[in-house]
Symmetry: C2
């Protein structure tokens, strides 16, 4: 009998299936409130506007909306992205600084391909975004982790590590960071630390990938974070996505970076998928032009703020004394720390049978630490579901704690 | 001054920019008739139907059309693909045998990632599809080429090579073939040779990738080619695309293969772009369900047949005696052979200044041979343009020949 598995290349073992997706599949169809995903709340998708724009785009552009287009991205969309970034506090971009990607997942995948040789050092936050760990791992990166606190990545700790590397004759290539409303922790890097990080990039000669999907959902209007890309157009590679500010099903992301980086990304993207859907790019361009995105963002922000508040209130009410958690200034997630001797992966089956799902936090740590942590999503569930989920979760935590200590 | 290029990974050098694209860019905006591309004729895109379907899909599915969806592909689309393949002469597929990709370019990219370790041997036709050469090269494949004639890949030559490899203790992993209306040559593998190829796959234990974008555009109704996938569901990995039968701007392709292959592709695709646009998959599913694709295909086929005839007639009229060419039974291309001492790459600037573009054939050869060949596309230009282009090209060939010999 033919053993097809023997034909699979070794590198497939480096690509780990996402733990989050597998958990989501476990809960499908069951009476489980999932705090595990990272889905936007579809109630706020501009459905009618997009239905109208879709047929308008085909009728207006005709066959051009349906034909092949250039790898770098449709000009109309890149022009709108330049304007959108300017409105968002990142002026000075040009269409040639931008490449459109099939979601920001593809941006990370292509960046890992063009930047990382096997054993190159990539520095990430501890915890950091799971999918970023996976793509960098798949090209053979070596990770170094830097801890976080309520002001984001601890730049002092980063500097110590950089000094150590220098003494050892090693040179990290990239710092990957989600400085604003970080996933999974919800914290943001202070402006002071951002300045410091940029200085270190000069001094130690590394590039920075600024992953910025959440900065449009900042809940405290008095705090303004300067985007790294606004300060440094050479070393900072910026990536963001339409998934949270318009709709994820269109699969649209982009990278703004130095033209040499964009050229390399273009070559890699030609191999990867030739180009991103012409039609979807024109839809997003039109949604930006007509103000659909700009008027959509505040509504979503208000909704997510209310949900965050509900989650924090419920945590106060039900989990005080048995857990600690971050107070996210934006984004979609709260990160929870249990007692050091607890293991949220071990606890997960209990949680599922009590009707609540989360992502065990160790998935977000490059070194398998963080076993006592978990990530809770508040963007997708309703406020009622959030309250009920935290109530269920607190019961699980108490029972599990008793079991472990008992 | 920062040298960004020094940060680019070594593997980027393995990814060659497509020669075809660069030539296309050269001709943009000039009075050049391009026979260089591989674009479908957009005159036949079902524009009105797709405008209607697009807004229907959003209104019918609502937010579901705009939300994240599973990596493997939207169930509605995979179901329709199973039925479509059955109508096309490949019965017995199941949704779990299918993964949706962002165009067939992504299918090739993911297949190269999951199958090829560095130095694995991949056997291809000489000439073969340029983009396939690039993706396999980017993962470190070693190529072996097998010649073609009017009945496709010479299987006798393949068998000789396989015997030689066996003697040397080597084991090729994959034969990549476009058996039906091959790109760039336009020829099809005879049914006898298909049987023989499948037998060799058993005997020498390799997998076959059957790339099948053109089999819906076969111009001689009395010839029927059995798809390899219809004969062997274990060793044959089938890939095709909606680009030629609906619209390339939607970026939709798919792979039908053994479930173990599909599982590995799913892992790789999760890393690459999470999933293909939910919206576009639902549009294509609806276009298949409403019969838009099935009624679209015969119209396009008739148009391409007339264009092929015009190109062959023009070649007879203008190029008799100075060139030989394939008589494509289907597809989008004629492949032209000039005298052995001529170099179509060297000739290209002359052609461009005479107002005609083509792809130098050496791009389609893994070993840099085929310098006297060129690929001519007949799907995109109009019949009038085809006649004029061949007339111009014959002038160029005659002048270039005189220059080289003189």
């Amino acid at each position: 009998m033919l053993d097809i598995k023997s034909f699979i290349a070794e590198r497939v073992n480096l690509m780990e299936s996402s733990e989050i997706r597998e958990i989501l599949e476990l809960t499908e169809g069951k009476n489980v409130i999932s705090l595990a995903g990272g889905l936007p709340d579809p109630k706020y998708f501009p459905v009618e506007e997009l239905a109208q724009i879709s047929s308008d785009v085909i009728r207006e552009y005709g066959w051009k909306a349906l034909q092949y287009s250039v790898t770098r991205g449709v000009r109309e969309f890149r022009n709108e992205l330049v304007r959108f970034m300017e409105r968002a506090g990142i002026p000075g971009e040009r269409p040639y600084n931008i490449i459109v990607t099939s979601g920001s997942q593809q941006a990370l995948s292509l960046l890992s391909q063009i930047l990382i040789n096997p054993n190159d050092i990539v520095i990430v936050e501890k915890p950091t975004y799971l999918a970023a760990i996976n793509v960098f791992k798949s090209v053979g990166a070596k990770f170094e982790g830097v801890g976080i606190d309520e002001h984001g990545m601890k730049i002092e700790e980063l500097e110590e590590k950089l000094k150590e590397f220098r003494r050892e004759g090693k040179k990290p290539k990239v710092v990957y960071t989600i400085p604003t409303a970080q996933n999974p922790s919800g914290v943001s890097m202070s402006n002071e630390r951002r300045e410091w990080l940029l200085e270190l990039a000069e001094e130690y000669d590394f590039l920075i990938i600024e992953d910025d999907p959440y900065s449009h959902f900042m809940f405290e209007d008095h705090i303004r974070f300067e985007r790294l890309r606004a300060k440094d157009k050479y070393r900072v590679i910026y990536t963001s996505t339409m998934s949270k500010i318009l709709a994820p099903g269109l699969r649209l992301g982009w990278v703004a970076a130095h033209p040499d980086i964009i050229d390399a990304l273009e070559t890699a993207k030609q191999n990867a998928d030739l180009h991103t859907s012409t039609f979807n790019q024109l839809i997003a361009a039109e949604a930006l032009k007509r103000g659909v995105v700009d008027s959509h963002i505040p509504k979503v922000k208000e909704a997510y703020r209310a949900k965050r508040d509900a989650m924090l209130e419920s945590l106060e009410e039900y989990m005080d004394g048995v857990a600690k958690w971050t107070k996210p200034v934006g984004g979609l997630f709260v990160f929870v720390y249990l007692d050091e001797n607890l293991d949220t992966k071990e606890m997960l089956p209990m949680a599922l049978s009590e009707g609540v799902a989360y992502v065990p936090g160790s998935a977000f740590y490059i070194d398998g630490s963080g076993r006592n942590t978990m990530r809770l999503n508040f963007s997708y569930p309703s406020i009622e579901e959030i309250r009920e989920a935290i109530k269920r979760l607190s019961k699980v935590v108490r029972e599990y704690t008793a079991k472990v200590s008992g």
